[in-house]
């Protein structure tokens, strides 16, 4: 079983993880009691720190504003949206996403592998990271590629293998910048993954040729940059 690095869990528990890391980690924690126990241990000093502050009652107007916020029309504060309904995302990960009215609808991108599709689920402009949700049919091979930045992958359903290992549902894989791999989906079950990236991938073969010669927007420029700055 592959888990997030201890440093990442420390960053998460101490409140430093960015939005995309929080979503993918919440998805992993939902099914991993070991990592939940680690996070509980790492968050304990934070609890003690918070308790060390004086308990000064906030002004009454603050509660009134808060009550008005949570009474906003149905759906305004809910993260759920029709396009997320078919995704195998744990509720804790969905709850970490911005409310539906602050997100753009999912836009699926096809063509990286036959029958495979990817969409940007979330982004954090402050750290230039994006979180993709991917759906790849059984036995399909994702094009061989190199990571220009770090990549985190959580398998939501199904399984895949590459030169580094075999990753089943719930497993968390981390790839360092420079890693080259070609994931192959197991037979028998469609694979759903969450993938967090800070830099675009460099593809090899015909996909690399397409990438080098066509300037259509990718996840990191054009449309997504405009979206990120919106």
């Amino acid at each position: 079983m592959s888990h997030p690095a201890s440093e990442l869990l420390l960053s998460f528990a101490s409140g430093r993880a960015d939005l995309t890391h929080r979503v993918i980690l919440e998805a992993h924690l939902a099914g991993c009691p070991d990592c939940r126990a680690t996070v509980a241990e790492l968050a304990a000093p934070g609890a003690a720190l918070l308790r060390s502050f004086p308990d000064a009652p906030p002004p009454p107007a603050l509660w009134e504003r808060l009550r008005d916020r949570i009474a906003e029309p149905a759906g305004q504060l809910q993260a759920t949206a029709p396009e997320l309904a078919g995704l195998p995302l744990p509720p804790a990960a969905v709850a970490e996403l911005p409310p539906s009215h602050q997100r753009r609808p999912l836009r699926w991108h096809w063509g990286l592998a036959r029958g495979a599709r990817l969409a940007v689920l979330s982004r954090d402009p402050s750290t230039h990271s994006i979180l993709l949700v991917g759906h790849i049919p059984p036995r399909r091979s994702f094009p061989r590629h190199q990571h220009l930045g770090p990549e985190d992958v959580l398998v939501l359903a199904g399984a895949y293998a590459d030169a580094m290992g075999h990753y089943a549902a719930g497993e968390y894989a981390t790839y360092a910048p420079g890693t080259v791999h070609q994931p192959v989906i197991d037979a028998g079950e469609t694979c759903w993954v969450l993938t967090r990236l800070e830099q675009p991938n460099r593809f090899f073969g015909w996909m690399g040729w397409v990438q080098r010669h066509f300037t259509r927007p990718t996840f990191f420029d054009g449309e997504e940059q405009r979206t990120a700055s919106a």
Binding site: S6, E7, L10, S11, F12, A13, S14, G15, R16, A17, D18, L19, R22, E26, L29, A30, P33, R36, A37, V39, A40, E41, L42, A43, A44, P45, G46, A47, A48, L49, L50, R51, S52, F53, P54, D55, A56, P57, P58, P59, L62, W63, R65, L66, R67, R69, I70, L77, Q78, A79, P90, P91, A92, A95, E96, P99, S126, T127
Partner: protein
């Protein structure tokens, strides 16, 4: 247990309140808010660097509590630890968004409230604060914890600042956190 440092006040405990909040119980939400908002506000005022925004941070924190209560699991630990993580998320997100990251990389432990700040509060009987607890940790461990736990440095960045191998730093942080927890549990 850390809970022994600041026992829950009378009434339903915070875990039970979170379960009720998950079901849309606004009375439970108000009880949870009354129990914790004061300290969240004090934290945001003291460590948020912009006291004018502290109330906005509290509002965002408790909106997140309302949205995320259903995903809280008891084995994630103390609800106050969960609340601390959310609070710091909101502050760090704000700092990153505004580019106000100066000082984010390191928390000076002297910034933490001392025992005098608890005087007159329901917790005035609590002699130990996090500041005192950190004072029990060795200076080397404290520096590592300040940077990598309360601050915003990666292990690699912290190791570079402290001129340590990353492996040694990790050991130092874990030992420091164990010591910190041990000191708190003794109370």
């Amino acid at each position: 247990m850390v809970e022994a440092v600041a026992p829950e006040p009378p009434g339903p405990d915070s875990v039970l309140l979170l379960h009720r909040i998950a079901g849309g119980d606004i009375d439970a939400f108000q009880a949870f808010y009354r129990r914790h908002a004061g300290r969240v506000l004090a934290y945001a005022r003291q460590l948020g660097r912009n006291p004018d925004l502290a109330e906005d941070v509290v509002q965002e924190v408790f909106v997140a509590v309302w949205r995320k209560a259903a995903s809280y699991q008891a084995d994630r630990g103390d609800p106050v630890g969960w609340l601390y993580t959310i609070t710091r998320n909101k502050l760090v997100d704000l700092w990153r968004k505004t580019g106000d990251t100066a000082g984010l990389d390191e928390l000076q432990w002297q910034q933490l409230p001392g025992p005098e700040s608890a005087a007159g509060s329901p917790r005035s009987d609590l002699l130990l604060t996090m500041r005192q607890a950190l004072a029990q940790v060795s200076p080397e461990q404290r520096a590592a914890i300040e940077m990598a736990y309360f601050g915003d440095l990666t292990y690699e960045e912290t190791a570079e600042r402290l001129r340590l191998p990353v492996g040694t730093l990790k050991s130092r942080i874990r030992a420091g956190l164990r010591t910190l927890r041990g000191v708190l549990e003794e109370r």
